[in-house]
Symmetry: C2
Subunit: 230 residues, 2 copies
DNA sequence: GTCTATAAATAGATAGAC
DNA sequence: GTCTATCTATTTATAGAC
């Protein structure tokens, strides 16, 4: 029986044996730098120091291996969402914390994060469904539930769609990551150099809004200078 | 003298002559479906019904043509930003209107929008700078100014970074577009099927925030059901 | 030159021994 | 779990006819 059958479409399983781990590591590198199609299982086997057949023992197919790479890439953020949901603190603190950590994860694993985003961008109906179910569903669910619980506790507005808010939370980090090479050269976008500060400010806007009307409700309107915090 | 020298790094110029237009149209198609490197200028010339030399007359280089394609792709959104800045209405209405139009533009020009996002995602320092200056700077500047004016008029909080808010406004539309094939299959993300509604709801969150504390300041808290509006 | 036919190489995947 | 050997389908290169 294939070890990968234990996955149930969920998280990675590479911790089980060293061969699978090294296969996954090499796959991450090759898929990242050469793309899916240009990567051959033969080269992959060679570099990982295992036989081709052994790869197919651990992963049913090339596509399965690719999905495993993406699951691994999202592992930490998924973990963060589980912790955040289980932990204490206000919904605001928890979500803001996730935003910061999610952004950090992507920046700390640049190549594989780009691989995931590339796949999302190029995916049509079929692959989109696969990605949703195998890579993102679990984490997204946790995020949506966290928002929904925040509403139930009276911390968040009850008249917003929790899934939409969750989508919004993910979007800011992703766009920061993927657009930073460009944003760095746009006037006024100095915030791009400080991810933690960015996450904090975005959280401010998401929670408090940016209308002037709400000013009196806000905790502590910081001074106009924006850089050098953290 | 090259016609493209009239660009000054700004908007497109294809309206000037029919040959340039057809070149641009074919380039858009080829670059979209085959990618930058896989597209040959010979094939492009053939399909556009012009000589290769004629292409280089209108566009200095292959790269220049590529940039022109991306400028054209962003033309409508750039135009929208100019109109929005010149027009009347509250800052909130104007920005919400742009978000809706921006999203529509991308969805109505799927292939070329994906091409632009692909380029942004894969761009390193050099190409990032180029994209910023040649494709995005002008529009982004308008958006930032619109936000800043909103602050000056007392409509928006003065303690947020206008460029960061502008960045946020772009990010939501982009992520909706690029992730919709995946989002369609995530539980609760039914909002993905109605772009106008999505833009409106996101604007709500961005302006009013999603904290419960501000509920009394909001115009009209809609009923909990989310679908089937517009 | 252009085309077809065929050879050679390589792709992903499987079988069965150890 | 891991291997060698093998299978089948493409892809790529080459030969030779036209």
């Amino acid at each position: 029986m294939h070890p990968s059958e234990h996955q149930h479409g969920g998280a990675g399983h590479a911790g089980s044996c060293p061969a699978a781990e090294s296969i996954l590591a090499v796959a991450e590198q090759l898929f990242s730098e050469k793309g899916y199609e240009a990567t051959s299982m033969s080269e992959l086997a060679q570099r990982a120091g295992v036989s081709k057949a052994n790869i197919f023992h651990h992963f049913h197919s090339k596509r399965e291996l690719y999905l495993a790479v993406m699951q691994a890439a999202c592992k930490d953020s998924r973990q963060a969402l589980l912790e955040i949901r289980a932990g204490n603190g206000s919904t605001r603190e928890r979500l803001a914390g996730f935003m910061r950590r999610h952004l950090r994860n992507m920046l700390d694993n640049e190549e594989v994060s780009r691989l995931v985003l590339r796949e999302v961008l190029e995916s049509g109906p079929e692959r989109g469904r696969e990605l949703a179910g195998r890579v993102f569903a679990e984490g997204f669910q946790q995020l949506v539930e966290t928002v929904r619980e925040g509403q139930e506790r009276g911390e968040l507005r009850p008249d917003t769609d929790p899934a939409l808010v969750a989508h919004l939370i993910i979007s800011t980090g992703v766009f920061f990551f993927q657009g930073r090479a460009v944003a760095r050269h746009l006037h006024g976008a100095g915030f791009i150099e400080d991810p933690d500060d960015y996450a904090a400010q975005v959280a401010d806007v998401l929670f408090d809004g940016c209308l002037a009307a709400h000013a009196e409700n806000r905790p502590a309107p910081r001074p106009p200078e924006r850089k050098g915090r953290r």
